[in-house]
Symmetry: C2
Subunit: 412 residues, 2 copies
């Protein structure tokens, strides 16, 4: 079980978390709980580090920031004991959760789950684990996994203790076919494949961190996204299933839909470079300077040259980086060699995701027709095995999402 900062923001909410844990224990399960810092605490600690020095030692930053999760873990253990649940807290170094030395963004290298499993067996003891942290074995120093790392801690621990499932408690009750604020008819998915969730997560659905989904896929840890506000009466009395979305292997999804969900992101900007020399090294000449300027390039579309000499090249960047990107490319004009640049800072990317696309032809073609019927102009298209994305004017985002949501039967 994993609970984020909002779910443990104060003692009352920690009591609520304890009730969720007790329910699982009473059902006969062995439980490990991973907790984040109380909401706002990590920001406070980070601000102190920045105030102490703009350029701070990442090892000291980690020692300071990791304290937030340590506090929550101890408090939850106290509350669990007070309601009759045997429990103890664990800091990263105590288990240990061994990580790389990349302080502030460490990778988990290994977790020894034996002691936790032994305590499940011998004492029925719940392990309350400080998320987001570990230890670098050689130096003996505390590391952190980077923001949002508690999801990763939870999945890694689930793998180490051979858990049947890793329940991620969040402020939503699962993964939806699209953002319900845009499409009121959006439905919660009962199941979604790891690959699909990866596409959704990286495309801006903020439910889960990409890293933790990857980890779940590699270690075959089934992840269940559910709500920390869930009440006993929310559990279906017939199936005994709580509301939520299971992220799992595609084999486990019996009735696989062709399309699983629609993701979108506004705040994109499009830049097109016209009549670029079609020769080796041109892409590097364009994207090298952008990378140096720390500008994150997303979609890249380059057509096969018509005349064999020049081509047009289009890419997207965050809207906030639009002007800076135009300047960077302008300065590199001599090395790149092109006719002109044009672009737009008010575009949106809409993506359609579904493992079923692999075996169904014409899925994208249906979308192009439906958008055309609505007079929505497609500026660019990219595709991968299980998704395709279109770039459109930002003003049409909601219309396009609703259109595609209905088109693929997700409204029902």
């Amino acid at each position: 079980m994993k609970f984020g900062g909002t779910s443990v923001a104060d003692i009352d909410r920690i009591r609520n978390v304890a009730r969720h844990v007790k329910r699982e224990v009473d059902a006969g399960h062995d439980v490990a709980v991973v907790v984040s810092a109380m909401a706002g605490k990590t920001n406070e600690l980070v601000a102190w580090c920045r105030d102490a020095s703009a350029l701070h030692d990442a090892r000291e930053y980690d020692a300071v920031v990791a304290s937030g999760e340590q506090v929550t873990a101890g408090l939850l253990a106290i509350v669990l004991q007070s309601i009759g649940v045997t429990a103890r807290s664990w800091q990263g170094w105590q288990i240990p959760i061994v990580t790389s030395h990349a302080h502030g963004a460490a990778r988990i290298l290994g977790i020894d789950g034996d002691e936790l499993i032994k305590r499940f067996k011998e004492r029925k003891e719940v392990a309350v684990i400080a998320g987001f942290q570990g230890i670098h074995k050689e130096s003996g120093r505390v590391t952190t996994l980077g923001r949002g790392g508690s999801d990763t801690s939870a999945v890694a621990i689930a793998a180490a203790i051979h858990a049947d499932r890793c329940d991620i408690y969040t402020d939503v009750d699962g993964v939806y076919t699209t953002d319900p604020r845009v499409v009121p008819k959006a439905r919660r998915l009962d199941k979604i494949a790891f690959e699909e969730m990866l596409e959704l997560a990286s495309l801006g659905a903020k439910v889960m961190q990409v890293r933790s989904v990857e980890l779940g896929m590699v270690h075959k840890v089934r992840i269940f996204v559910r709500s920390s506000f869930e009440k006993p009466e929310d559990i279906d009395p017939m199936s005994n299933h709580p509301p939520g979305t299971l992220i799992c292997d595609e084999e486990e999804i019996v009735e696989q839909q062709v399309v699983t969900g629609i993701a979108f992101s506004k705040d994109e900007a499009q830049i097109s470079i016209r009549r670029v020399q079609d020769k080796p090294g041109v892409a590097a000449a364009i994207f090298g300077p952008l990378a140096e300027a720390s500008i994150n390039v997303d979609m890249i579309v380059q057509n096969v040259s018509a005349d064999g000499k020049t081509t047009d090249l289009t890419f997207t960047v965050p809207a906030a980086d639009y002007q800076r990107s135009m300047d960077v490319i302008g300065k590199a004009r001599d090395t790149i060699g092109f006719d002109r640049i044009d672009g737009a800072s008010d575009v949106a990317k809409v993506s359609v995701i579904g493992i079923g696309m692999r075996s169904h032809a014409g899925v994208a073609a249906q979308a192009f027709k439906a958008l055309a019927d609505r007079n929505i102009n497609i500026r660019a298209i990219t595709t991968s095995e299980i998704k395709f994305s279109v770039l459109i004017d930002a003003a049409y985002t909601e219309l396009a999402v609703r259109t595609l949501h209905a088109l693929y039967g997700l409204d029902k």
Copy 2:
């Protein structure tokens, strides 16, 4: 060097601490710094634990509360690095500071100072150490030493690294002959013997924790009490000595005064039991029930029986416990056997401390005469090798302290 919570209350004050450390490093010293939690933080963490459960697991309490010092240590290391001082933070378990398993009030069993000394030699690296905490080796769990434990951490670490001196930075600039708010002529002592400081500390002079003075005495760690508000211009240019008080072995004090200081405590209450049976077991019959009621008995005065059958017995308790104590003794009347009880809840204890008393007769007699000259009635007297205490009406406290302060030449 040790800095308390007020000295590290925010980043600006931590910067001030860093300047003190840099000054010592620039003077060529190897430095270990022990820090408390930022002022208020420990109280916040303790309140959360209490809120989580009135009866909380002391091991979890320790895991939560120890986080405060961890944060300060990391922040000070960051600030030190930013002003060019090589530094790293250490948590109790990293050194390790090995303690007993008495969570919340653990005793330090041993500290391995070798790694710290090695780093002094090889890298000139300042060790910034989280005070108040350690680790219980067998369970691998974090322990705390109890409130005020950072002084103890500092003295124990000073012993482990064979430090020349342990500087305790506080909000006063040393130990005074008595409270300057009562006697404006009170003087700062340049030196005081461990034994004298122990008496002063336990009698209510709040400069240092009793435990840490004891530890200094046992391990022969010279402790220097000085102010964290000290400025460079406060240092005497002739002697190069900063203002402060050195707590040291009595041999180091060349010109030993007969009397070193006057301590006092108001808020005492006196209870006298008249015509108690003078037989074995009576003291137990009186003080047993008081101990069971968690009432802290201080002075106990019992005279030799005049008639061989009965005697009067007087003792003091905190004024807040006066009525409760009277009730406890009243209930135990049958088992104790006495004529009547009387008492007063507005008395004060004034104590005169000085190692020189050992070799000077008549020191106490001078006091009794001086107090009599001022018409101050002495209710009871207790003495030990290096101090004597008198119980008087609370209204005369200031007059008595000023009289004795002048009598023993402490005004000069």
